[in-house]
Amino acid sequence: MLKYESIQELVDEAESRGVRISELVLQDQAAAMEKTELEAYEKMELDFQVMIQAVQAGQAPDQRSMSGLTGGEGYKMKTYAAEKGGLCGSFLGGAISRALAVAGCNASMGKIVAAPTAGSCGILPGCLVSLYEEKHIPEKDIVMSMFTAGAFGMVIAKKASIAGAQGGCQAECGSASAMAAAALVELMGGTPAQCADACAIAIANQLGLVCDPVAGLVEIPCIKRNVSGIMIAFSSADMVLAGIDSKIPADECLDAMRSVGDTMPEALRETAGGGLASTPTGIRMKKQVFGDQKE
């Protein structure tokens, strides 16, 4: 049984057995849950199907959030990326659209997969559905890579945090981005050690990110932070695949993330008491949605 207490454990076990992290984790988790590997795989496959459906739902032109503060971002970006390509090119533009779409689907009470949280639910699909639909990577490989993402997430949850109320947005979008980066590296044929490096770089690039939701809603800035999450995941994965390593090991990055979270003021941990939530516009939007209420 794996302990999921360090990234190094995952790397060492996978390398010593000569398997991918995803294979190691599928085997371990199926045993831990008293399921067959096929059952565990099929459960993950269902999660991937929900992600694809969430992309489609969130790309609808009339997608609007419950509060009315946001909506239609996935559609706008999809149209722009398809017609003009944009600065990022059509592949990344499409990925941005998918991340926006899933986060928007969440804000409009659609069905999503928390990965690891609802607030960061657009990042894994933004990366993985894009590889599936644009790079034509087989579904089986994508689903397997979700076990790698999940394993990294388990270690992050144990060593640091995946809750915005505890560790700020670095714990939500940061974690999702690091999980996605590791999965991307594995999908592109990287080694377990390279998966760990991509995770490390993604975490390092989001250290200190605060959780400051306007009106306390999972919309502003959450939806767009899902986009930064995928951009950091893609760039971290590509750097590693180019042979650029992380100077700080993943486990140490996670320790740093925890200590940054521990020293983060409460106002910046999901309480809507600081950051963008306390800007004049943020406060005005809160009044617009909820009216004047006493605190």
């Binding site: 999921y4 984790v25 988790q29 831990a32 849950m33 565990a40 459960k43 993950m44 269902l46 999660d47 929900v50 959030s65 419950m66 509060s67 689907c105 969440n106 804000a107 409009s108 009470m109 659609g110 069905k111 999503i112 997969v113 928390a114 990965a115 690891p116 949280t117 609802a118 607030g119 639910c121 894994l124 979700m146 076990f147 993402a149 999940g150 394993a151 997430g153 388990m154 949850a157 144990k158 995946i162 809750a163 109320a165 999980m179 009106a215 306390g216 809603l217 999972v218 919309e219 949605v289 909820f290 209420q293």
Partner: protein
């Protein structure tokens, strides 16, 4: 924790605490109703629930759970209309419940046959809940395990009778946690028994037959 706690759950957004957790709180009430048709429900929201319920759809989520929907049911979005369609009279009230967790709701339901019940609990993050009161009596369970609530008269031997039945009739059954609360000595009391794994068929029926037990309810893992 397993890999599906990280990649998952599948849920209706936008918030695990204000939406998914709210559905699960509602589902506890649904389990208590035991398939009897609902006439009216009064839902009291406290703290953050009271302030932000509209933007998170907490009202729809609670009502959906009360009607038996899951945290992944697409019907949550339309729960208010579905309740009206079913002839359920619902009302949302705001109250500062003293000393309660910020995300607390109290659900008071009245069934068509006149029976009533109350559930009070909190959504404590990540879709997890803690149920604090059932029918005015203090309990404490999370809904993560299958939980058996045994309403009974506080008399010597009742607990022994229940646990002996559980042990001798169902060899595989293991109690994960046990808690007893009562109004007063000899008065109404409630056992909160969380069990490992799946509850065996017929367990609550068997417990109900025990002398001085007034009711036994299985609150399945929500």
């Amino acid at each position: 924790m397993n890999v599906f706690d990280i990649i998952g759950p599948v849920m209706i957004g936008p918030s695990s605490s204000h939406t998914a957790g709210a559905v699960r709180l509602g589902r506890v009430a649904n389990k208590l109703m035991d398939n009897h048709p609902l006439k009216r429900v009064e839902i009291t929201l406290s703290g953050s629930f009271a302030q932000t319920y509209k933007g998170h759809g907490t009202d729809r989520a609670l009502l959906a759970g009360i009607m038996g929907y899951h945290s992944y049911s697409p019907e949550i979005r339309d729960a208010l209309a579905i309740a009206t369609e079913r002839g359920i009279d619902y009302v949302f009230l705001k109250e500062d419940i003293k000393g309660a967790h910020p995300n607390t709701a109290r659900i008071h339901f009245i069934l068509q046959d006149g029976e009533e019940g109350t559930v009070q609990g909190a959504s404590i993050g990540g879709g997890n809940i803690l149920v604090h009161q059932i029918n005015g009596m203090n309990v404490e369970f999370t809904g993560e395990n299958n939980t058996i609530l045994v309403m009974h008269q506080d008399q010597p031997g009742v607990i022994a009778a229940v646990t002996q039945l559980m042990h001798f009739e169902y060899a595989e059954l293991n109690i994960a946690s046990f808690r007893l609360t009562r109004e007063a000595r000899g008065g109404n009391a409630i056992m909160t028994i969380e069990i490992d794994g799946h509850p065996p068929e017929g367990l609550t029926d068997a417990i109900r037959k025990i002398s001085l037990v007034t009711n036994a309810i299985l609150v399945r893992r929500v």
